[in-house]
């Protein structure tokens, strides 16, 4: 294999040299340290010696030409190379004592894009002096600004962009990026409207000026409120909502729970509420009807393997929907613990991004506000949502006799693109059956 001989760096600061004379011809045999060429540079005239023994196979740079340090000037076929014993390791590019003239950066430094980590710890945000100054000068509420800097830091440019866009007006300042906030929300209204989804309105009314009368209180829209609003509108627009309801006799469940709760609290340090029973029943039914546990994906429907139950947790001014991961692998105790943990952390403001992602079906405990009927909005992109209403004692006809039973309504909104009435009816019947069968044999653990 031919050794490349490069233009050496002859002297400090020298970047090029001229081959003033070749002292060898192609075919000549040279010994190590034999002179190969006379080279002229800005600083010196010197003879360039060979660093290997061999035969000159090609002269690349003609006499009189000036080339940069590090340029290939000739090839020498090393004598050992043809002898068979020489290892191919005999340095392929030895010679010239020096590096190429310019230190160009290696071409392939990958372009690193800025990962936008979402802001979780809003209240702990630290601001640079420039951000504080600018926001004060322009009356910008930094809690409503989403940062694009490292770790979601609000940068001076973020604030400047708002100023350049005309300031932080409630209707306009928070842009699409805000949607990244991992908040979903659930309707809490008890107003029943038509179960048939209406066609989505073509454009949301944005710029209608709403008059503020004297004495009216103007409450600024926080970024979380804005997110909730956007998510609601989006879900309502995209998913054609259908609605259905069953009523369930949970007298046995109530009895069982009342009997077990004392020991449970003592043993687990946790109140045994009704919600884990409902979630357990939903999860079991979802296993039977996996289509309910799915999502609309434009040209396909994705049936999710994992069953992750989103639960709605309200705070004073917002609604969060943390997720019980792998709820199908949990006992009632496991679910109870997960509910308790998520609720506590929601109220403490300590939810992580992970806590709020991955839900496949939502259970909403509207009964806790005393509601007996609700029409929830689907937590997109899930396919359905179920709300558990208040348990109330009512006279019920059983075997043609009137009995006082503990009754509960289960309301379900479904994405009619994915699901139809039939499957949902079967699903609800399955949930109902499981709940009504709760009794002394039900396993808590």
């Amino acid at each position: 294999m031919a050794t490349k001989v490069l233009m050496p760096q002859l002297g400090e600061s020298v970047t090029e040299g001229t081959i003033s004379k070749w002292l060898v011809n192609v075919g000549d045999t040279v010994k190590k340290y034999d002179s190969l060429a006379e080279v002229t540079t800005d600083k010196v005239n010197a003879e360039v010696p060979s660093t290997v023994s061999g035969r000159v196979t090609e002269i690349v740079v003609p006499e009189g030409e000036t080339v940069a340090v590090g340029t290939l000037i000739l090839y020498i076929e090393e004598s050992g190379a043809e002898g068979g014993t020489a290892a191919p390791a005999s340095t392929p590019e030895t010679t010239a004592p020096q590096a190429p003239a310019t230190e160009q950066p290696k071409a392939a430094t990958p372009a690193v894009s800025i990962q936008q980590a979402p802001v979780i710890d809003g209240p702990k945000q630290r601001y640079s002096p420039a951000v504080v100054m600018l926001s004060q000068q322009h009356g910008i509420d930094l809690s409503r600004v989403v940062g694009t800097g490292a770790g979601g830091r609000i940068t001076r440019k973020d604030v400047q962009a708002i100023i350049d866009a005309g300031g932080q007006k409630p209707a306009e300042t928070v842009k699409e990026t805000v949607v990244q906030e991992p908040v979903a929300a659930v309707e809490q209204s008890t107003i029943v409207s038509t179960p048939v989804p209406s066609a989505p309105a073509s454009t949301p009314a944005v710029s209608v000026e709403i008059p503020v009368a004297s004495g009216d209180q103007v409450v600024p829209v926080t970024s979380i409120r804005r997110t909730i609003a956007n998510r609601m509108v989006q879900s309502k627009h995209e998913a054609p909502h259908a609605w259905t309801m069953v009523e369930v006799d949970v007298t046995n469940l109530v009895n069982f729970r009342n009997q077990a709760k004392g020991e449970f609290a003592k043993k687990e340090g946790l109140n045994l509420t009704f919600l884990p029973f409902f979630i357990k029943a939903v999860v079991e039914a979802l296993k039977e009807y996996p289509m309910i546990n799915s999502t609309w994906a434009h040209d396909k429907i994705i049936v999710k393997k994992d069953i992750n139950i989103s639960i709605a947790v309200a705070t004073e001014d917002a609604l969060y929907v943390p997720v019980i991961k792998h709820a199908d692998q949990k006992s009632i105790l496991g679910i109870a613990k997960a509910v308790d943990d998520l609720a506590a952390r929601t109220r403490a403001g300590k939810l992580t991004m992970d806590d709020m992602t991955g839900g496949t079906f939502t259970v909403n405990n509207t009964g806790s506000f005393g509601s007996v009927l609700s029409q929830p909005i689907i937590n997109a992109p899930q396919a359905a949502i179920l709300s558990v209403e208040s348990i109330v004692k009512r006279p019920v006809v059983i075997n043609d006799m009137i009995a006082v039973r503990s009754m509960v309504n289960l309301c379900m909104s479904l994405d009619h693109r994915v699901l139809d009435g039939l499957i949902c009816g079967r699903f609800l019947q399955s949930v109902k059956q499981k709940l009504e069968n709760v009794g002394p044999n039900t396993k808590l653990y």
Binding site: V14, D42, K43, Q104, S128, A130, M133, R156
Partner: protein, 327 residues
Amino acid sequence: MAVISFIDAITMAMREEMRRDSNVFILGEDVGVRGGVFRATNGLIDEFGEERVIDTPLAESAIVGVGIGAAAYGMRPIAEIQFADFIMPAVNQIVSEAAKMRYRSNNDWHCPITIRAPFGGGVHGALYHSQSVEAMFTNTPGLKVVAPSTPYDAKGLLKAAIRDEDPVLFFEHKRCYRLIKGEVPEDDYVLPIGKADVKREGTDITVISYGLTLHFCLQAAEKLAQEGISAHVLDLRTLYPLDKEAIVEAASKTGKVLIVHEDNKEGGVGGEVAAIVAEHCLFDLDAPIKRLCGPDVPAMPYSPPMEKYFMLNPEKVLEAMRELANF
């Protein structure tokens, strides 16, 4: 307009000034017949004779001290220190004498000397042919310290230094000598000492540098532009007194400041630049002021991997710039 190398711009400036003013003369080691070890005075002895291109004895304090005496009398000496590393024996003459002559005499005497010194590494010069010594002189009121990065600036600033009524220490990065080429007008022009120069306009981050590393910053800025990061690059050009106005303006523009120099970090020029930014730009700052500098070791080692480790390069600068942009 001709494209010439940095060192040719230096030679051109001296030749023009020597033709213009018979008081201008050169003294130093090997500056005459040899034309300087870097060839900066190449050909000047042929045109101006050994009276004005003086090969001195090998003694730096005398090169500067004799120059000071001549300057005080009214000449315009250009003293060449062969390598900035060898300037140490002359420090007393520069700092105690040249820099203080006007002040100590209450403006009676002054000292218009120019002291040229090649500095910086990346040329396999090891510990004593690679140093950046500028920080030793940049707290000496009375002295001006200049370090151009382009051939155009080199010519304009060297001519300004020669015409300046006060002592100017003129640092030339020896790696720039033949690596950096640029357009240089044939005409007589001078550039103001004490003025920094925006070498690239940008909006995301401000990079402040001088000498060879300025070019690394420009190369990195070019690459980052492809990533959508816009860098504002300020060339200090004069290291003392600093152009505070330009520094404040450049820093305020983006609120993110990276200072880059080959000299080691602690006690370097960058520290002063950072202090100016900290004093004047607090409410414009959007990130900590960052410095990317040579390591705090005595000097640059000879062995190539060690030298490479010591030296900054476009990749290192790029990384620091990107990190700051992403902050």
